[in-house]
């Protein structure tokens, strides 16, 4: 449901976020905008950390005397390969922390901590702790002055917990207290925890179809080039070897990862524990706090008599809410879509995928195989019919929009018949043909900006269905020059108006029909 009444700090934050996304869209194109792929960028950084980390582990001497020497020696490897390796590893860690923080912020601003997405939220929160523990532990392995400072600061911070009986920081009291066995702990923290993190990430994306664990190729190349250039331009070097009899004088601290240590120094371990505990409690509690917003959307409903088991809804559902089960008609091999209401987000993309959703069917009441109770396909057909019959304009333009994208109701005017759907993906392509056959001069389908669909795949599936690369396709007999596809997010209302003007001009110049493709308009 559209909510244009922006009032709360979160709404203001969301507006600011969208403004930032528009800047990114202008530079990268919305499909490759990093701000729309933060989770995938986090994965990208993690894969990069894994690949560079394996090589670093091969050269690492896990001993008190050898660790620093083995890592420091990378500076002398031919062609700067060691420098590149260290730089990629460190900067990928920074990238992962930043991407993780922005990903959390974006999901919160979009109110994605609730409903069906609650599972992903709750499984994502512990990963923040894992990621920081792994990242901080990476500084210890090098066992230089920075690693010494970080290891001692972490031990002292943990010792502040009331149930820790023996001081962990005693392990760093003197040179004699530190042995090679300590590196077993370091290796566990920095190499063992990532394995647990992989497991946690698997849980995190468990309820997503086609989870993005790799960003679009152009973005991956761009980030890779950026990190490579940074690693060579600003090399990561070691401090002096650890010396427990001295406090390091000046540290080139990685503030992106290690900011917690100076914060502890400036306050106290108890204060930082209180902040961490309160932050974690708040993040875990957010999905359960009362909300004044609308109730969860009703789940999709399957009609067994009209479901032929084609699996298109199963393939298109972004949240893995649909499974296929044997059909109750007991014909061998025939299946039926089954919706798990707890997983269904109510986007309607399944209804748009259903071949039974065609409005050309003669039944007085259009019952499709899978439908949305809050906006059934039959109601959409009724409204379209009524609007086409009622309009006095001879050649109206029909606009199908999305509740979460540009507001199509704002472009309502004489000759413009606008319909806002739960998601652009709810629109069966046959409705475009139906509108044209019933008197519309043209049809504009307005989806969200590429990569900006509230339900992940709505804008993508819509485009592929209309362009004929995904079933159900717009039929070949439909005049493409009468159809426009617009990618416009919230606030991009003017883009739809421009697309309508353009389509009108196209229709007006139809004397020489040279157009044979659907016009695409990007915000």
């Amino acid at each position: 449901m559209r909510n244009d009444g922006l009032s709360s700090p979160r709404d203001l934050g969301l507006n600011a976020w969208r403004a930032a996304e528009r800047v990114g869209d202008a530079a990268f194109g919305s499909a490759c905008n990093p701000l729309r792929h933060l989770g995938a960028i986090g994965f990208f950084a993690f894969w990069l950390l894994g690949a560079s980390g394996v090589i670093l582990y091969i050269v690492l001497d896990t001993s008190v005397d050898g660790a620093w020497r083995s890592i420091h020696g990378l500076a002398d490897t031919p062609l700067g390969s060691g420098v590149l390796l260290r730089g990629l590893h460190r900067y990928a860690a920074d990238l992962m922390v930043i991407a993780m923080g922005l990903h959390l912020l974006r999901e919160w601003l979009h109110r994605h901590e609730r409903g069906v997405r609650r599972f992903a939220w709750l499984t994502g929160v512990p990963l923040i702790g894992f990621a920081f523990a792994i990242a901080v532990g990476g500084f210890w392995i090098n066992w230089d002055r920075l690693g010494q400072y970080s290891a001692i600061a972490t031990a002292e911070w943990i010792d502040a917990l009331p149930f820790v009986s023996s001081a962990m920081a005693r392990n760093f009291l003197s040179v004699n207290a530190v042995s090679d066995r300590l590196f077993s702990l370091f290796v566990f923290v920095h190499l063992g925890l990532p394995l647990l993190l992989v497991f946690g990430l698997w849980f995190h994306i468990q309820r997503l179809t086609r989870a993005a664990v790799w960003p679009p190729r152009a973005l991956a190349i761009g980030l890779g080039v950026m990190l490579t250039a940074l690693a060579l331009a600003v090399p990561i070097t070691s401090h002096e070897p650890a010396a427990l009899e001295r406090v390091p004088e000046s540290l080139r601290l990685d503030w992106i990862v290690l900011f917690v240590h100076p914060l502890t120094d400036a306050t106290s371990p108890a204060v930082v524990w209180a902040l961490v505990g309160a932050g974690a409690a708040l993040l875990f509690a957010l999905p359960f706090l009362p909300s004044r917003r609308e109730a969860p959307a009703p789940a999709a409903v399957v009609d067994a008599a009209n479901c032929n088991g084609c699996q298109r809804c199963f393939a298109d559902c972004p949240y893995a809410a649909i499974t296929m089960a044997p059909h109750p008609n007991q014909r061998i091999g025939r299946t039926l879509a089954v919706v798990d209401a707890d997983l269904c987000i109510g986007c309607g993309i399944c209804a748009g995928a259903c071949p039974s959703s065609t409005p050309f069917r003669s039944a007085a009441r259009l019952v499709t195989g899978i439908d949305m109770p809050q906006l059934p396909i039959d109601v959409l057909r009724q409204r379209l019919r009524a609007a086409l019959e009622a309009t006095r304009v001879p050649q109206p333009i029909v606009v199908f929009g999305c509740d979460h994208g540009a507001n199509v109701s704002r472009v309502k005017a004489d000759g413009i018949l606008a319909f806002s759907l739960l998601c652009a993906g709810q629109l069966p392509p046959s409705f475009v043909e139906y509108a044209l056959r019933d008197g519309a001069a043209g049809v504009v389908v307005a989806a969200c900006r590429q990569g900006g669909c509230e339900f992940r795949f709505g804008e993508r599936w819509t485009a592929q269905r209309l362009l004929g690369t995904r079933e159900p396709c717009l039929r070949a007999s439909v005049q493409r020059d009468r159809v426009a596809l617009v990618f416009a997010g919230a606030g991009d209302d003017a883009v739809i108006a421009r697309a309508i003007d353009s389509l009108n001009q196209r229709i007006a110049s139809d004397a020489a029909p040279a157009h044979d493709a659907i016009a695409l308009h990007h915000a």
Binding site: G29, A167, R210, M226, V247, E249, D254, A315, R460
Partner: protein
């Protein structure tokens, strides 16, 4: 081609967009490059030294052992009759540190464990100005009236950034300062 990799209708980026991309990548790289190493952080102010006081020690029993009474012994099987009964609970460790005659620290660490029979642990940091300092440490691990505390009084020269460790090692005669 798998459905998930079907191409999206793409936007052709103009020169301004490419320039914007370079600028944004550069800006992001600058943020990471700068804040991964700058500004420098000093854990200690110049001219300061650090004293670490750390003990892990099992205190003495909180009371004296005594001979069991005849009635107590009678309740036990003959093979399980002890010659004396000692309290299980251990004394807390109390530490006082004076530097140049001023009391800088006074802490009491309780014994660990549900029965209070475990070791008491203490870890404290004292940041002091570098230079010559007289350090007096007094440690008591026995709450009984006649107990004598461990004491150590030394004159040390602390360099800036030096870490001085005050520990307890029974094999080395008690309080160690190194």
């Amino acid at each position: 081609m798998p459905e998930a990799t079907l191409p999206r209708p793409s936007v052709k980026l103009g020169p301004a967009a490419w320039a914007g991309q370079v600028a944004l990548y550069g800006l992001f790289a600058a943020v990471i490059g700068v804040f991964s190493q700058w500004p420098p952080y000093r854990p200690l102010e110049p001219g300061q030294a650090l004293i670490k006081l750390s003990f892990t020690r099992v205190g003495k029993p909180v009371g004296d052992c005594r001979k069991p009474s005849e009635a107590e012994l009678a309740k036990l099987p003959p093979t399980m009759r002890p010659t004396e009964i000692c309290p299980r609970e251990r004394s807390p460790i109390t530490v006082q540190v004076d530097i140049d005659g001023r009391r800088m620290l006074e802490r009491t660490a309780p014994p660990t464990g549900l029965k209070k029979d475990g070791a008491a642990a203490l870890y404290e940091r004292l940041v002091v100005p570098a230079g010559e300092r007289r350090i007096a440490v007094r440690l008591s691990d026995d709450v009984r009236a006649r107990a004598t505390p461990y004491e150590r009084d030394v004159l040390v020269r602390l360099d800036a950034g030096q870490v001085l460790v005050i520990d307890f090692d029974a094999d080395k005669g008690g309080i160690t300062i190194q």
